[in-house]
């Protein structure tokens, strides 16, 4: 968790090189689709694939989703998936990963306390992995169970001639812990939000749960295709089915504040406009590119 800036890992799949960048300018985008869209816009010429976590991922109940952005057919595609990837990314102190280039190989990215190892492996080894994030040209999952939705099309990203055509997996092995400034305030807030499970639009079940979520709902392995959710929950990134809980600015403000973020109400109020403008900018540019 980075309180005053956003830390982004850039991985070039052509060279298997990587670098970290600190972005103070991304702070105002909070996280999730805000940070994701800005990174996508900044790297648009490289047709990136952006994976972003939220600033509270893993730290509050039902804030369990990661956001995947990529371009397809002259438009930006927005996917959301749960599992472990969002919480672990946030806890390891990485707000987003930007993948550029293309590959016909099976690439494994291992993160251990922000030490990065990028290797290639055989297809059979890739298929045996239950990594925190797994990407192929037609599917994105966490632990090969929690899906980012159907109709994923990354044909330009994985260019191999085998059926899969290449693949990418990300494993996170260790995370950092955060000291509380005010444990009782956090605990009170956490318990209150946990008790609001009746506001969710899914029922508790006994399926595997995303990190930090008690629901084990029937949707955890399906992604969030077709869900229209407000900008604030999408920046945090809460589960779409918990939109009722996290779309309130005072709730989001209290959560962010309780773990040390210094966002003001005005930052949260301005988010829909910021995100909307970025989305229009990206889609206009992608449309112009596909027409020319």
């Amino acid at each position: 968790m980075n309180l005053e800036y956003k830390k982004v890992l850039y991985i070039d799949l052509n060279t298997l090189g990587y670098e970290f960048k600190i972005h103070e300018d991304l702070w105002k985008y909070i996280g999730g689709i805000g940070v994701g869209y800005k990174l996508f816009a900044d790297n648009l010429d490289e047709k990136p694939v952006v994976l972003a976590a939220g600033p509270l991922s893993g730290y509050f109940p039902y804030i369990s989703k990661a956001n995947l952005l990529y371009s397809s057919g002259g438009a930006v595609e927005e996917k959301f998936g749960g599992g472990t990837i969002a919480g672990l990314l946030n806890m390891v102190g990485i707000d987003a990963i930007v993948f550029t280039g293309a590959t016909d190989k099976f690439v494994h990215v291992s993160l251990f306390n922000q030490e990065v190892t990028v290797t290639t492996e055989k297809e059979e080894d890739f298929e045996r992995r239950y990594s925190d994030f797994v990407l192929t040209k037609n599917a994105a999952t966490s632990q090969r169970y929690f899906s980012f939705g159907n109709s994923i099309n990354l044909e330009n990203f994985f260019t191999g001639e085998t059926q899969l055509g290449g693949g990418l997996s990300v494993s996170i092995d260790s995370t950092e812990s955060l000291d509380f400034s005010d444990f009782s305030h956090y605990e009170e807030l956490y318990t209150d939000l946990l008790d609001q499970y009746r506001k969710l639009s899914v029922e508790p079940r006994s399926n595997p749960s995303c990190l930090g979520c008690p629901m084990g709902c029937d949707k955890s392995n399906q992604g969030e295709d077709g869900e229209n959710v407000a900008a604030l929950p999408r920046c945090l990134i809460s589960c779409a089915y918990a939109e009722e809980v996290y779309k309130s600015i005072p709730t989001a403000y209290a959560c962010l504040n309780s773990v040390g973020y210094k966002y003001h109400h005005s930052h949260l109020e301005g988010l829909p406009k910021l995100v909307g403008e970025l989305k229009v900018l990206i889609n206009n540019k992608l449309r112009d590119d596909s027409n020319s």
Binding site: Y59, M91, T175, S177, L178, D179, F180, P208, G216
Partner: protein, 61 residues
């Protein structure tokens, strides 16, 4: 949830690293691993937070 709760109640930390318990495995086949030497002071809270009733409290007399 139980790993995070254990870190909160036992170490007053937010994260997985300082938790006395860990979850290993893959969806549907998880195992709970507990530190042998850890003296868990708030077992009731950790037991209570698990929606699946994975835990039981054994009191030794």
């Amino acid at each position: 949830m139980c790993v995070l709760a254990a870190a909160r109640y036992e170490a007053k930390k937010l994260g997985l690293k300082d938790s006395p318990i860990a979850i290993k495995g893959k969806p549907g086949q998880y195992k709970i691993q507990s530190d042998y030497g850890a003296d868990i002071k708030n077992p009731e809270k950790i037991v209570h937070i698990c929606p699946r009733n994975c835990f039981d409290t054994i009191v030794e007399k």
